[in-house]
Symmetry: D2
Subunit: 179 residues, 4 copies
Amino acid sequence: MIPNDTALLVIDIMNPFDFKHGETLAQHTSKIVDPINSLRRYCMKHQLPTIYINDHYELWKADYKEIYKKCHNKTSDPIMTPLQPMEDDYFLIKPKHSAFYGTALNTLLHHLSVKNLIITGIAGNICVLFTANDAYMREFNLMVPGDAIASVSEEDNHYALTMMKNVLKAKIDPTGGIL
Amino acid sequence: MIPNDTALLVIDIMNPFDFKHGETLAQHTSKIVDPINSLRRYCMKHQLPTIYINDHYELWKADYKEIYKKCHNKTSDPIMTPLQPMEDDYFLIKPKHSAFYGTALNTLLHHLSVKNLIITGIAGNICVLFTANDAYMREFNLMVPGDAIASVSEEDNHYALTMMKNVLKAKIDPTGGIL
Amino acid sequence: MIPNDTALLVIDIMNPFDFKHGETLAQHTSKIVDPINSLRRYCMKHQLPTIYINDHYELWKADYKEIYKKCHNKTSDPIMTPLQPMEDDYFLIKPKHSAFYGTALNTLLHHLSVKNLIITGIAGNICVLFTANDAYMREFNLMVPGDAIASVSEEDNHYALTMMKNVLKAKIDPTGGIL
Amino acid sequence: MIPNDTALLVIDIMNPFDFKHGETLAQHTSKIVDPINSLRRYCMKHQLPTIYINDHYELWKADYKEIYKKCHNKTSDPIMTPLQPMEDDYFLIKPKHSAFYGTALNTLLHHLSVKNLIITGIAGNICVLFTANDAYMREFNLMVPGDAIASVSEEDNHYALTMMKNVLKAKIDPTGGIL
């Protein structure tokens, strides 16, 4: 079902959830851990690249372990720990919302001959949506499994999925439907 | 009220409205003509730059008159004609949704020492929203008068304004409130 | 000899030559008019796109005729007049040295499915070299005919060609050799 | 002498020197170690940021230690070891020649309110020159100490300095002159 020239993006999953509505976002995010892990296993098995792109929390360093340490707490642990990147995964930091802004993501995707992106992570209506739009402008084909993105409010999440479907022509089938 | 280092953006106002829901978008757009013209007059009087950024409809030419001609029809006339750019206005074309993607807009704004943007035009939840996000990532301060952007659906327009207010920290007062 | 997915770039050929060493640059540029025109004819015949990219001389408008008028003088006439773009040519403005910086060039080239660039114009060691480097970073294959670029000094021109050959892996055969 | 809003860039100094002319480049680079270290000490003392930007040697990870390990050998040791970044230095990877292409450098510099750059490293006529040009297009003021950049050939290094002085308006005084 998934073409060979596909990569999986995992956005902002290293997160302290220590801001306003952070607890709510963490609750919603806990439900996307399993779907994202299904996608990761699929990609590993089929040798498709998995690329984490994450806020750097003022570290300005693409050091997964330092970011993990900085974000780790009781709320984030059940999300971050099962979603830790594997040795072969790519791990990029992003300075702003979009995973394409001020990062090597576009160059990496071309280097890997990727044409299709599965976009997952948080928050669905912010970093995920703006990344999806930048990907669409760069002419990638998008899959955004509805059960693999989360937002503070259900309504926001739903709206983002609708936008990505209608405006960015993304496939938004659930994980089970695309694997 | 409006700082000196401000520019007015007018997005995709040259438009044939000949697509699905185009008539509806034209109806909603007809209501933002007067507010945009108030903003244009204010900017002209205070010597603030007005920058049109528009789809080029496969012309790939930043020639306002050709684009006007290509888009002109009974539906678009009442919108496009009163909003025609003045001799001193800037007129850029954009190849994709965001006014910053593949354009000289960022360079022009730096050249003009602009720090604040008033964003107007259509569609509120697509090109306006994605332009606003790109502007925010580039650290411009945003004003988005709610009566100067239009979308196909009122709900979409409202949602875009809410996003721009909450996520992009835009001021969304109506035109009358910011002038 | 030239693959189908090739475009011709003509850089900064609309030029008043009214700066220091401008007369010298004009003299050197007069010698590249014929080679560029051979390339243009070849591209027209084989339906390959020709893309002019030019400084806008503070007009910030991609209006070929206004730029021509602004640059026209006794020195520039013998260069600019025979090199005027045809109706179907693309004409972009650039705000800085590189034809890729703050322009829609990359998007246009992807839209046209272009993989190979023939780069011509002036000055060889400035705008041509920096454009070539940006093209190389974006993974275009480069042809830079040595008789179709000009610089103020012969040494500079030679150096730029050497750089483009050694660092950017450009073919630098003369026009006659690549057509 | 050096304004407060200045950052030091150290380009591609983590390097195996295992390519054609690598030994020669290493010899030339060994002479710039002390000048770069003088600049680093000055910046540390005056709390100016030092930013390393380096090729990632197909690691695609901004992990200084892994890159150091990958590049370390008898030739590179006398260069890389004394130039190792400090805990507080920034360390970015770049996918291509220019330190601005596909990196967060521009965003980081804005975040740090930097307006002036001291550019050092290798190779002077390739990554340093193309970085300098990208910095110039983004309107940074440039200082490029002639004794803190190195190239394979002296002539290339000299040429790059001349280009940066004449075209990019860089100050090219030796380290002793700018500190």
